[in-house]
Symmetry: none
Subunit: 215 residues, 4 copies
DNA sequence: CATGAATGAGTATTCATTCAT
DNA sequence: GATGAATGAATACTCATTCAT
């Protein structure tokens, strides 16, 4: 541990296909090792070995262990957001209620892409140093959801769009995340729809300010 | 000679008091160090030093670093649950809407007791080994909330109480937690009530199944 | 580990029955723990606990861990020599061949008194520090055997009695010890006599200088 | 890129030579430290320092302190057996009495190669864990000696060759070992032959069953 | 560019021993 | 005398990182 403050940005942009393959292999190996051994036992030497790359080469492309984990998180987030973004596209032209259902379903699907990795990333990976500001999933989601709300503005009775987006995204993420990680029973094939249904209802009721209907 | 119980009461008490003080100092020091240095840099030696206790004494009472962290988490949870339990007592005799507001307020208060510690515990502390099953806050909360729902059963239209408790507790926890940890802006003094208000509305709308009112 | 060179002599002669009982309990506990946990894992705290005595009391009677082990070795040697001495008494009036058989049998019996302890003492206990010069068994045996040879001097054709005693005692001890520790097969009930027989023959042939009979 | 075997031969050889030198230095340093400080005070850090190697490198090649000691023991045994094996070759074509003398002489020589190390290994090194089954010297010796006996079967009157090998090897080893370790007087230059002579006679008399000549 | 031998600060943990009560 | 809480030096071992080849 000679370096005080490890770099986090990649040392070089992989300019050649060969280098690109190495980088990919390293990120993939990191994910695999993270799942297999946990964060603490995932050493750079082990990762290099699993990637079939020398430890020296690893440090040619990633200046620190943290930078590897950051790369894994970013890749995972990209995968997640790909699904979520597609759902937003689908939801665009649908009525609110239906659209929300699509979004919730996408959130669940997203969390199910690689639950083991998601769990390690969420539970074992300390958010310190370079990882301090790496969020799982949400960052972009708030903005996108806000746009979605804007499009439906006239159907809704919302003043603070930002706050509403916060409430919705945070709730949906928490419910799907917690279910995936801690409540496998809730995600059993025959019950998934139930969770989906409840979550949609929660959000829909909130957005429509249905409580106004009650005096 | 075989010294089963030959201690005079005063000696025993004296000893226990001393030992108890040591234990307390260690737990407190662990919390402090966790906040100051983060989980990874919180070494047992550092903790012992901060507690003004020798490393040997630390291991007399805590068999591992993990056990210290577990003690901190448990203490923190106790603090949290004290607040939350009190809120449930207060909420008992109030109408649902009012009661929910109290509970949400308590959740926010709870998360504000020691937000820095809560953050470290939530974000940096890997949930592996002995820490695998140590939840922050929620464990008991689900049960208590379920009881609360039962008492209000006739006001509500809920079939699956467990699922409803899961949805409510998870949402409330996530909203208050995320606000405390990541959105200080939302918790600014003049806006806290806004969050409180929105959260209550979210939960109230969900529990009353207001969406039934819309065809 | 504050003390550089631990004491080895008992701190006080146990003058009272009570004290004597404590000392006994400690020596017995040390033997038990040595067998159960091995030398390295036999800590003074564990020994004190097993003896039902406080660690402080332990150090009242034994100035160091080593001194405890010395006491165990000495007790074990005493037990061994009791058996061996009795055999010498029995052998005194018997013809050489018969006498030797008795001595060999006693050596085997002696090693079988507490083989587990004997093994730990022989294999795990480093002969350094105060334990450097603590021999198992042999010390006195050489002298006694020499006396025995002297009494049979006229039957034998030996010049150097010391050397002869060395050869005999060392061989007998090695054969019985090695058999007990490493060759349980050789000590099986139906074969013990065989070992006994062979050992006697070895020694008898040697002492009678039977090789003189061959040209 | 996946770097299976892309090394140029010179690089590989260079690397291996360096690594080999490190391993050798570590084994040699372990032996030296064992002799100088004793088993208990021989820490891995001290060994690494004495070898002029970092503690990290030590653990690159030896997974534990024990494994270092095992390496030393094996090297020592190899040295011993080299001498003993040579003696068996020499003894093959000689008459029994002469052959035995050669073997006994070799046993003495073997124990004199590095008596200080032999002593530490024999007396201080606990035979637990990985060291449990590491014998000094004897393992192979029994088998080789048995073969030797087989070749001389017709000169002897032995039924149980295994038992006879056990008796002979154990005795020879014990006598030479004990003399080297505990009785320097017996090994004084002018007396070595005496021990040699007596030992040979002991074994020869036993193997020839000379006691049969007496009724 | 790639390699992998080497580094060494840092970690958790043990245990013989002391001494205030 | 007896107690047991406290001590802290010492140990084996890990792992992110460097750099000579």
């Amino acid at each position: 541990m000679l370096a005080r403050k490890p770099q986090t940005t990649p040392r070089k942009i992989a300019s050649q296909a060969r280098a690109h393959a190495t980088v990919d292999a390293l990120v993939e190996a990191t994910a695999r090792i993270l799942v297999r051994d946990g964060f603490d036992r995932a050493s750079t030497n082990r990762i290099a070995e699993a990637a079939g790359v020398s430890i020296g080469s690893l440090y040619q492309y990633f200046p620190s262990k943290e930078s590897l984990v950051v790369a894994v998180i970013e890749r995972h987030n990209r995968d997640l957001m790909t699904i979520v973004n597609a759902a937003f596209v689908d939801a665009k032209d649908k009525p609110l209620k239906e659209g929300l259902a699509l979004l919730v379903a996408a959130a669940i699907d997203g969390h199910r892409v690689d639950p083991a990795l998601h769990r390690v990333l969420a539970e074992q990976t300390p958010r310190s140093g370079a990882l301090a500001n790496v969020e799982l999933f949400q960052r972009d989601a708030y903005g996108i959801f806000r746009s979605y709300l804007e499009e439906h503005r006239d159907e809704l009775h919302i003043e603070d769009l930002d706050l509403a987006a916060f409430v919705c995204v945070t709730s949906i993420e928490a419910l799907t995340h917690t279910a995936v990680i801690h409540r496998p029973d809730i995600l059993a094939e025959e019950r998934v729809d139930q969770l989906s249904e409840e979550t949609s209802r929660l959000i829909f009721g909130y957005l429509c300010r249905l409580d106004r209907l009650i005096r």
